[in-house]
């Protein structure tokens, strides 16, 4: 799990997932 600092009460988490033979960095923003 990758995270970035909490700003404006918003959490930002991400994970790099292999999709078939490509790589998607899926980034999810959610309120704290």
């Amino acid at each position: 799990l990758a995270t970035s600092s909490i700003k404006h009460n918003t959490l930002c988490v991400a994970s790099i997932v292999r999709y078939k033979s490509k790589y998607v960095t899926q980034i999810l923003y959610a309120p704290l």
């Binding site: 990758a2 995270t3 600092s5 959490l11």
Partner: protein, 181 residues
């Protein structure tokens, strides 16, 4: 090759600098008041997991309390490895609530869709007084205990896991830790 005969161009009056000059020339007060949108492309700074400067045992205590508050369950840690927590969360389609007793074998649980997400949470020391809590997705299980039929999946299929439930549960845990601390 034949691009020479192209008459494609950029409309000069549409360039922001020229537009502003034209608006000023018309003496419109807004032209000096309204500034152009400056969006700082702040490069997102990523970290693995979440960092902590608390005392290691305190960090572990906070994580167990947060997991308990979220209704998660975990395997009893071995003496050799106190810094790793193997977690299991009930995650069903309607509300991703956390199962108080994930082992309940209520027969009507749909066995086709695995509803227990597994996660490994591990504490790492980066340097003195600087620790990192790492979250790792560890697959799914079904609360009925039936094995998931992902054994016959091809290598490619195995990786078509949706990361969003994992990301969502991670945000819930981080929120719980942030709120508690």
């Amino acid at each position: 090759s034949k691009e020479g005969d192209s008459t494609i161009s950029i409309l000069p009056t549409s360039l922001p600098q020229i537009h502003r000059a034209n608006m000023l020339a018309q003496g419109l007060p807004a032209a000096s008041k309204i500034s152009s949108l400056v969006t700082k492309k702040s490069k997102t700074k990523w970290h693995f997991g979440i960092r902590s400067r608390s005392y290691p045992l305190d960090v572990m205590g906070e994580i167990y309390i947060a997991l308990k508050n979220l209704g998660a369950e975990w395997a009893r840690p071995s003496e050799q490895d106190l810094w790793t927590i193997r977690v299991r969360w009930k995650y069903n389609m309607n509300t991703p609530d956390f199962d108080q007793n994930a082992n309940s074998n209520n027969s009507n649980t749909t066995t086709t869709i695995p509803d227990l997400m597994k996660m490994v949470i591990q504490l790492f020391q980066i340097e003195a007084n600087n620790y990192l809590v790492d979250f790792k997705f560890d697959g799914w299980e079904s609360s009925t205990g039936k094995p998931i039929n992902n054994l016959n999946m091809s290598e490619d299929e195995m990786c078509t896991f949706s990361a969003y439930p994992f990301l969502h549960l991670s945000t819930r845990l981080i929120m719980e830790l942030a709120v508690n601390s």
